[in-house]
Amino acid sequence: MAIAISVKNLGKRYRIGAAQTKFKYGMLREVLVDVAMTPVRIYKGLTGKAVRGTSSSSSFWALKDISFDVEEGKVLGIVGRNGAGKSTLLKILSRVTEPTEGTVSVRGRVGSLLEVGTGFHPELTGRENIFMNGAILGMKNAEIESKFDEIVDFSEVSQFIDTPVKRYSSGMYLRLAFAVAAHLEPEILVVDEVLAVGDAEFQRKCLGKMGDVAQQGRTVLFVSHNMSAILRLTQEAIVLNKGQLLMRGPTQEAVDYYLSSGQAQAGERIWDVHEIPASSAPFRPISLKVKDRSGKVVDTIRSTEPVYIEFEYQLDAPITGLRIGFYLSTMRGEYVLTSFDTDDPQMFDQFDSRKSGHYISCAEIPADIFNEGRYGLGVNASSFGVRRYFMDENALAFNVDISGAPGTQWLEPRVGPVRPRLEWKIEKLV
């Protein structure tokens, strides 16, 4: 079988110089000081005496020594934590950015469902944008014409096809954009679910399209944090960590390896000193952990077992009325629940004032709550109506595995973020 993608010793280095971090917080004073220092900087730059600290640009390898081949018609999963280099790899394969070293040969056109709506211009009509967008995605004019009717049908916006897209609702806009991307029919399709936006329906469409493409014998690269999706849709997977390719194998093996290697801080978030804003004092977050029944820190929890969320923190001074809150949300940003450690009146009285010291607030989330998928966990430390000390809306994320949950005898996915075990009664009346 022919090789669709061949990657050899691929490396990509990014510079993290002063230029990118400068003025990140846009303080006028900093800007003024910087402007005043410009002649000095230029002088020192010319004479080779770099200003200490600021102009020494350090670099890091987002990818290093990556080699693998993908045969035509294979669906390859790519797993790894945030920052493992997954998106960089896809960017190089789709030629958005160029590698620092190594080579890739790609046989055929690479398309991505991420490119949805790229190059759409609000002033142009739907019809004009279809042609424009098709051309940007690399379709020939004749090809777009032959598929035009199909694209319009698929998008369900045929009555507005000659209206400027700035008058479209966001749903119509997205449907039209997706319709064009879905009809590109590339030889190689790249799907980065991590970056995918849009509503549930849209994501479902993306995955459905991916399935179709794979069925037609095209090559698919699929990046996701959702292990069940990876298991369902791919036969083979590679595991990336910190820019290195750790392993490649059948998906089940790769996923097991990824989950068991406990890469870096899966299911755990530890705050570095520089990550804590000065404004949060005297509150100092230390760590947030998701643990299973046996007390092990896990990235994937089972829906049928209780989960323990532990937030460890330090108070450098006593705080009155402090409450620690957990926010659970789906990856689409819908909140599932909010809970505070002093919700219970008895706890509220007992911990009205917390002395300085080292604390852990731990919550048990009972079994049979979550549906399949990935959930985000945010934390908050505040005194009601007084002050918010600390807030991290996306402290960590974890996956939920639903094997054994109610209704899994049917393989269909269930809608809704919760999957409780309800007491059902069936009465026969006649």
Binding site: R95, V96, T97, E98, E101, T118, E123, A135, A142
Partner: protein, 281 residues
């Protein structure tokens, strides 16, 4: 499903770019349809939601011509080589407007399309190229006024020189594209270009014989003066259309050489910076 257009997949080799082969002009040819689409989009969108629409393409040079005629023709009495001043300046304002418009559009072409650059591959050169070529439509519209002026002042061009006009237009495009490549690529990293550009074009206008005749430049400065490609373009336009001046001479070749130098250095610089566009934009 309708029939799928089958094409044999081509293999693309992705590797760190090196040398002149990295200019990759072949890709520009493969994506030529996109160039036309981008030009078409720029033109369609340019005068959307304006009251006067494409009239702006005429209003701008005509108003400038009237102001110049009043200030330089009537008050300062600048020599216009025996040609009526309005037509003398308007002939120069046409290529000058093309040049400045191209610089303005093209220098922002990459930054304003950053979502395309960070998401998909296409030869990045398309963006400045389309911006520069898109100005030709405005040029054509404004040219109609020139024909009217020529009829009004009964200026008849001689065929012996008129045929060179497309060549001078080409020279203007080459110069505009060369400078645009530099500016657009620099703009990706340093947005200072946005602030520097008005000064640059203003300064450039002073050293280009738009409002005055290049004959006022003394002999010893002529060579330095013709280092400005737009000087060659403007003199060429006047010669081709109005028969003013002596026609192509050594100073024109200096302009041509400098134009190509800017274009090639711009291409190399652009291509060199291109690999980091998606990372730095």
């Amino acid at each position: 499903m309708t029939e799928i257009i089958k094409h044999e997949p081509t293999t693309v080799y992705i590797k760190p770019p090196k040398g002149l082969a990295a200019l990759n002009l072949r890709d520009l040819w493969i994506y030529r349809e996109l160039v036309f689409f981008m030009i078409w989009r720029d033109i369609k969108v340019r005068y959307k939601q304006t009251l006067l629409g494409a009239l702006w393409a005429i209003i701008q040079p005509v108003l400038t011509m009237l102001v110049f005629t009043f200030l330089f023709g009537k008050i300062a009495k600048v020599s216009s080589d025996g040609i009526p001043y309005p037509i003398f300046s308007y002939t120069a304002l046409l290529p000058w407007g093309l040049f400045v418009g191209a610089l303005n559009q093209a220098s922002r072409s990459l930054t304003s399309n950053h979502n395309m650059i960070t998401k998909i591959y296409f030869p990045r050169l398309i963006l400045p190229v389309a911006s520069v070529l898109g100005g030709l439509v405005d040029f054509a519209i404004a040219f109609v006024v020139l024909i009217g002026l020529m009829v009004y002042y009964s200026v008849t061009p001689s065929w012996a020189s008129l045929w060179t006009l497309p060549l001078f237009l080409l020279l203007a495009i080459i110069a505009a594209l060369g400078v645009s490549l530099w500016l657009s690529a620099i703009n990706v990293q340093y947005r200072d270009v946005n602030y520097a550009l008005p000064f640059l074009t203003q300064f450039w206008l002073f050293i280009t014989p738009v409002a005055y005749s290049s004959k006022v430049i003394s002999e010893k400065w002529q060579l330095a003066y013709s280092m400005n490609p737009m000087a060659g373009v403007v003199n060429g336009f006047r010669w081709a259309l109005l028969g003013s001046g002596s026609g192509p001479d050594a100073s024109l070749w200096v302009s041509v050489a400098i134009s190509f130098l800017i274009l090639f250095s711009g291409l190399i610089y652009f291509r060199n910076m291109e690999k980091t566009f998606a990372d730095t934009i």
